[in-house]
């Protein structure tokens, strides 16, 4: 009898990630060859990718912040083989409007953010509501390294090794009621530490939301760190959401509240410009932003000045894993 787990529906391998049979069958020989330095340059590339498949996280720590130990993730699609963006670029080119709208602002001003003590309120249509201290929240699941592509709605992208666990683990623990259809994420809005919060660009606090099945998807990450260390302030410390198949703004930073509701949440960008930012905001090269094309993106740090923009992939390349969540939906209307 075939026994299917609730996770197996997400197991659709991407062909490029499947190790070829000949390489697989000869893996011990190859490792021995590599050990003696005989393996050629072609195999070196394979070896470095294969090294990522070891249980321990492979990312080299930048040595800036406290380490956050993580194991390699087994979640399908969670370990992109692409070259990670440099830590410097990933921490100096950010959108975190509470600290200013220029992408260099968060790195300059987010040092005022006070990340300890920190609590996250979990409430709404669940059996076990409560307040979690950040340390307790961190221990609820095994910290995994997830190397995700991150596509900003503005047309640029990065590859970031995040650290965290599937949000679904937390959701299962708090036991949602049958009536819970959506999850709302509320982020910190502190006028004392956030200099740009008196601006009119958005209605604070910043609110994001997911449908329950999206929130339960194993790729949806409750994130505590990146590059093997705790999150820098400008990247959403101490805990944020990462939803790799949606535009970056869906991945709310510095969470203070997670609320389960039967109503589709009124997200911050949707309230600011409903015509431009839909509730779903899945990465989709075929549906343009009203003010610019979404067909291509600039990969930050790739080949310097003369790099061509690359084609944006449907669901940011996570279609094998998440496509079925949107089967039958008109993604032009529900953008």
């Amino acid at each position: 009898m075939l026994i299917r787990s609730d996770r197996s529906v997400y197991d659709h391998a991407i062909p490029s990630e499947i190790t070829s049979r000949s390489v697989y069958e000869g893996r011990r020989d190859l490792l021995r060859l590599m050990g003696t330095g005989v393996a050629g340059a072609a195999l070196a590339a394979w070896a470095s990718r294969q090294a990522l498949a070891q249980p321990a996280a492979a990312t080299v720590r930048p040595g800036r912040l406290a380490a956050l130990q993580a194991i390699r993730s087994n979640v399908p699609g969670a370990s992109s083989m692409e070259q990670p963006t440099s830590y410097k670029d990933a921490t100096s080119y950010n959108n975190y409007y509470e600290f200013g709208t220029d992408k260099s602002d968060p790195a300059k001003y987010a040092h005022t953010l006070k990340v300890a003590p920190w609590t996250v309120e979990i409430e709404g249509l669940i059996k076990r509501p409560g307040r979690y201290g950040i340390e307790d929240l961190q221990k609820l699941g095994a910290q995994e390294e997830r190397i995700y592509r991150m596509r900003c709605v503005e047309g640029w992208s990065m590859v970031i090794p995040w650290v965290g666990y599937s949000l679904g683990e937390l959701i299962r623990r708090v036991e949602p009621l049958g009536s819970a259809k959506y999850v709302e994420f509320v982020t910190l809005a502190d006028p004392k530490t956030m200099p740009f919060i008196d601006s009119t660009v958005l209605n604070w606090p910043y609110v994001e939301g997911l449908r329950m099945d999206e929130a339960m998807h194993p790729l949806t990450l409750l994130c505590f760190g990146m590059y093997g260390e705790v999150l820098p302030n400008q990247n959403g410390a101490p805990v944020r959401l990462v939803v790799p198949w949606k535009y970056g703004f869906k991945s709310a930073k510095s969470l203070v509240k997670i609320r389960f509701t039967d109503q589709q949440p009124n997200t911050a960008w949707n309230r600011a410009a409903a015509r431009e930012y839909g509730f779903y905001s899945n990465v989709n090269p075929n549906v343009d932003h009203p003010r610019w094309s979404q067909a291509t993106e600039r990969r930050i740090g790739e080949d310097g000045l003369f790099a061509k923009r690359r084609k944006t992939l449907m669901f940011n390349g996570y279609e094998p894993q998440v496509g079925q969540l949107y089967a039958g939906m008109d993604l032009k209307k529900l953008f």
């Binding site: 410097k88 080119y93 709208t101 992408k103 601006s199 009119t200 094309s293 600039r298 000045l305």
Partner: protein, 211 residues
């Protein structure tokens, strides 16, 4: 001669020095030199293409402010020697505008004309900037002495009043670009400077009409 009057005389002598133009020329090239160096030394941050497009746009606006400040400065400070730098500074506006257009079409768009056409259809503020550049090209093309002579001083002056249209379009271009994030602080600074420089001309014009 009293000491007070000697000061402007020495200034005028400095401004009339044969090397003065060369010095200004060198200074005006400094931003460009820095950007070329920064691009090579990888000092332009995470998104060098975007940084170049924005920096060249900023410098176009700054030189536009500088060149439009020449005449008010000349009149207010009674320093006629300033006039000899006006053409060169005007051409530097054109130079940085051309660098701006080049950075956009090369580094951002990879000279892909169909991509550029699609991008302009999506982002009309680019068209405003481009219109401004076309008008500026007409001014640059008629900036040498033979063009002035063949046009006749009166017609040349009328044509070069287009610089006010260029300034207005440049501000609209910048405003529109920043509208997405409603980040208008810098736009307001340039608009205020250019507005003051144009306002000074308007006041002078009205005074002449009434006197």
């Amino acid at each position: 001669m009293p000491a007070l009057a000697r000061q402007p005389a020495r200034q005028a002598a400095l401004l009339q020095h044969p090397q003065a133009k060369l010095v200004i020329f060198g200074l005006a090239l400094l931003p460009c030199a820095w950007l070329v160096y920064a691009a090579i030394a990888n000092q332009l941050g995470a998104n060098p293409a975007e940084a170049l497009v924005r920096a060249t746009g900023d410098w176009t606006l700054r030189f536009l402010c500088v060149v439009l400040a020449v005449t008010p400065l000349r009149v207010v400070s009674a320093t006629p020697a300033l006039a000899r730098f006006r053409r060169m500074l005007g051409l530097f506006v054109y130079f940085y505008a051309a660098m701006h257009l080049l950075s956009y079409s090369w580094f951002d768009m990879g000279f892909d004309m169909s991509d550029i056409a699609r991008d302009i259809a999506k982002r009309p503020f680019i068209l405003v900037g481009f219109t401004s550049f076309v008008l500026l090209s007409a001014l640059a093309a008629t900036s040498f002495n033979r063009a002035i002579r063949s046009l006749g001083a009166q017609r040349w002056r009328t044509l070069h009043k287009l610089v006010y249209v260029v300034a207005a379009l440049a501000i609209l271009h910048f405003f529109w670009m920043r509208a997405g994030k409603r980040n208008f602080a810098e736009v307001a600074v340039y608009a205020a400077v250019l507005g003051a420089l144009l306002g000074w001309r308007a006041v002078r014009y009205l005074r002449r009409q009434t006197s």
